[in-house]
């Protein structure tokens, strides 16, 4: 076993699935000879050929539409969005076709749409977004966002083997981040979709989060320890359908909750999680469910603006201290 990055873990997962199952094929922009804008598919076209690694025009609707059609016919397509921001261009296909097919016509669409999401790399308004809330209200889709190399590999494999359309978000701030490199088993394994992970056990406060914000939460938990607050960190890993049991179990244990995400605030994951906690664990709560999120603006480019936009460790500490007063 060697220590690998999150990006390498995704690459390995895709590679192994293509070796294992010849129904799996890739399509997207510049994924062939160039290996993709972030090099996730570097070397794939040489190994698997142009029929299974399809370079496409800049046509997100055509890419995801083709993935839907191929999936209906028994293939296992994996479509790449060069940046996940561009998934807006194929919203119709995802929302009206992929998500409704099983319900309407009993035909599953086992397809993965994957791509780099998230900020912190000064990509500006169109290369930094988190898009999960656009699709949270779309029954029929699944959404996954790994925070560790182990999970990334296990979840991309699970997504490819899943019978339903899965949106797979890869946080670009984590892609090559050396601090999160991890040893990953060489043997085949999957991480099940729909299951959260406890990143840190604690008694006093639950921080429910996912993606790159897991590390912000861990940093905050270290600081809170010095203040005598023992925080538990839940990494959702799957955003739709999210792991209700894990969330509720943690809330019942700690009675105080912060929901932390990098996506903007209004209509986000945090609002939905708050509603579920209110409906199903209200009597366990000792204080209000707190949200720590990006502000309700487009993602700004300049470093000081982007830093202000995104949740920081201090924002988590502030919310935790407010909750400690209850």
């Amino acid at each position: 076993m060697s220590s690998i990055t999150l990006l390498e873990a995704i690459r390995q997962g895709l590679w192994e699935e293509m070796e294992r199952d010849d129904r799996v094929f890739l399509l997207g922009e510049d994924i062939g000879i160039y290996g993709g804008a972030f090099k996730v598919t570097d070397g794939f076209v040489r190994r698997f050929g142009e029929e299974r690694v399809v370079d496409t025009p800049i046509s997100e609707s055509a890419i995801v539409g083709a993935a839907c059609g191929a999936a209906m016919m028994g293939m296992r397509p994996v479509a790449e969005m060069q940046f996940i921001d561009f998934i807006s261009c194929c919203f119709d296909i995802l929302r009206n076709y992929a998500a409704t097919s099983r319900y309407r016509q009993d035909i599953g669409i086992p397809m993965v749409v994957r791509g780099p999401c998230g900020g912190g790399v000064h990509g500006g308004p169109f290369h930094s977004q988190n898009v999960e809330s656009f699709f949270l209200n779309t029954p029929g889709l699944k959404m996954v966002e790994p925070s560790t190399p182990y999970d990334a590999k296990g979840l991309i494999k699970a997504a490819i083997r899943d019978e339903d359309p899965v949106l797979f978000f890869e946080h670009k701030f984590l892609y090559r981040n050396p601090k999160i490199k991890q040893e990953v088993p060489a043997d085949d394994y999957i991480v099940p979709i729909g299951k959260a992970a406890i990143r840190r056990e604690g008694r006093d406060l639950s921080i429910i989060t996912y993606g790159a914000m897991v590390y912000t939460a861990l940093d905050a938990a270290d600081r809170l320890k010095d203040e005598g607050v023992d925080a538990e960190i839940i990494d959702l890993r799957t955003l739709l359908p999210f792991d209700r049991e894990a969330v509720l179990e943690s809330v019942k244990k700690t009675s105080k909750v912060i929901i932390l995400h990098e996506a903007t605030r209004t209509g986000g994951m945090a609002g939905e999680l708050t509603a579920v906690i209110n409906e199903e664990a209200f009597e366990y709560l000792d204080g209000p469910v707190m949200r720590v999120t990006s502000i309700d603006t487009p993602v700004p480019y300049a470093p000081p603006l982007e830093e202000f936009f995104m949740p920081q460790v201090d924002d988590v500490l502030k919310a935790a201290r407010a909750l400690a007063a209850y």
């Binding site: 094929f25 029929e51 299974r52 399809v54 496409t56 025009p57 046509s59 997100e60 609707s61 055509a62 890419i63 995801v64 539409g65 083709a66 993935a67 839907c68 059609g69 191929a70 999936a71 209906m72 016919m73 028994g74 293939m75 397509p77 119709d92 296909i93 009206n96 076709y97 409704t100 099983r102 319900y103 309407r104 016509q105 009993d106 035909i107 599953g108 029954p139 029929g140 699944k142 899943d162 019978e163 339903d164 359908p241 409906e279």
Partner: protein
């Protein structure tokens, strides 16, 4: 490629079946038994029937019709009873009451229901053909778009994708002169839909969409070329929508003279006359076709009307594999 008497009468059968089926749907709509919208293909039957007739089910050919292509669906093997059951929202319809009109799918018979956003299914059919190519099948796909639909982004992305991938796809462009209320002159600055695909390097033909033999001939050429590896073709069928967009629309925005002019070019009357003039079929043969259609529809409508409606809770389930039922919205109801 020359069609014999049996085949020509079969074309007539499917066109008559389409029109009579829709006449009955019209009545059911007026009786309040059909809810939502009713979209007719009156006057356009030749385009739908003639094009789909060029496909070969044995070779795994696939078809995705629009709402005004009931005739294509019938040629591909959908049964009138399935169409009635769908419109009458029966629990035993192909979508079990979950989707409407002719949004019905059966991959075994090779038809894939459309969805209401236009152009989407061309993109999906590209994927169907990518898959069959990877699976080493010799299948050809046929997909439909109206004049209105050719202005969508999905149409242009998908047409270009089909061309650049050289997919075995035939796109039937039904130019029926109106997109809901908007005439083609207000939709585009060109006279022919076929001009749109020239930019993608896709060959095209323009035909009289009310002449079923012309439609069939053109479609057969395109299907043959696709099967031989020649890539996609766009066929523009010039026709006319003889009713409003849907049953609620009285079509008051269409000049009476225009309708009178197109009424003289009725595709069924045209075929019947040609069959008689060319001594292919007698008035008796034609009468027999009409009788077959009427008795089939009697039987199938009776069957559909005898089918149960879905139970309210049938709205649940089937969203994900493994039938994970969405949590009921009302408080306290755990499933």
């Amino acid at each position: 490629m020359e069609l014999d008497k049996r085949q020509q009468l079969e074309l007539l059968f499917f066109m008559r079946l389409t029109r009579s089926l829709e006449d009955r749907l019209d009545n059911l709509y007026k009786q309040g038994k059909i809810v939502g919208g009713l979209f007719r293909s009156l006057g356009q039957e030749a385009t739908a029937v003639g094009s789909a007739y060029a496909l070969d089910g044995k070779k795994g050919d696939m078809l995705s019709p629009l709402t005004r292509d009931l005739g294509a669906l019938l040629v591909k093997g959908a049964l009138p009873r399935e169409v009635f059951a769908s419109y009458l929202w029966r629990a035993t319809s192909l979508s079990r009451g979950r989707d409407q009109n002719i949004h019905i799918t059966d991959l075994k018979r090779g038809f894939i229901g459309t969805i209401s956003p236009l152009g989407t299914l061309i993109a999906v059919m590209n994927g169907v053909m990518l898959a069959t190519r990877m699976q080493k099948k010799q299948s050809v796909g046929m997909v439909y778009i109206g004049d209105g639909g050719t202005s969508t982004g999905a149409f242009h992305e998908a047409a270009n994708f089909a061309a650049v991938q050289n997919l075995p796809l035939v796109i039937i462009g039904e130019n029926n002169s109106y997109a809901y209320t908007t005439p083609t002159t207000r939709q585009m600055r060109i006279l022919n839909l076929a001009d749109r695909v020239k930019a993608y390097g896709m060959p095209s033909e323009i035909i009289d969409g009310n002449d079923v033999m012309a439609v069939y001939g053109s479609a057969q050429r395109a299907v043959d070329r696709a099967r031989e590896g020649g890539g996609p073709t766009f066929i523009e069928a010039k026709t006319f929508r003889m009713r409003g967009h849907a049953a609620h629309d009285d079509q008051s925005y269409v000049a009476k003279e225009l309708l009178d002019q197109w009424r003289k070019r009725d595709p069924i009357a045209h075929l019947e006359k040609a069959l008689k003039d060319n001594k292919v079929a007698s008035a008796g043969d034609i009468e027999q076709v009409n009788k077959r259609v009427a008795s089939l529809l009697d039987e199938d409508l009776a069957w559909a009307e005898s089918q149960p409606s879905p139970a309210p809770e049938d709205a649940l389930g089937g969203v994900y594999a493994g039938d994970v039922k969405p949590k009921a919205v009302s408080a306290g109801s755990e499933d």
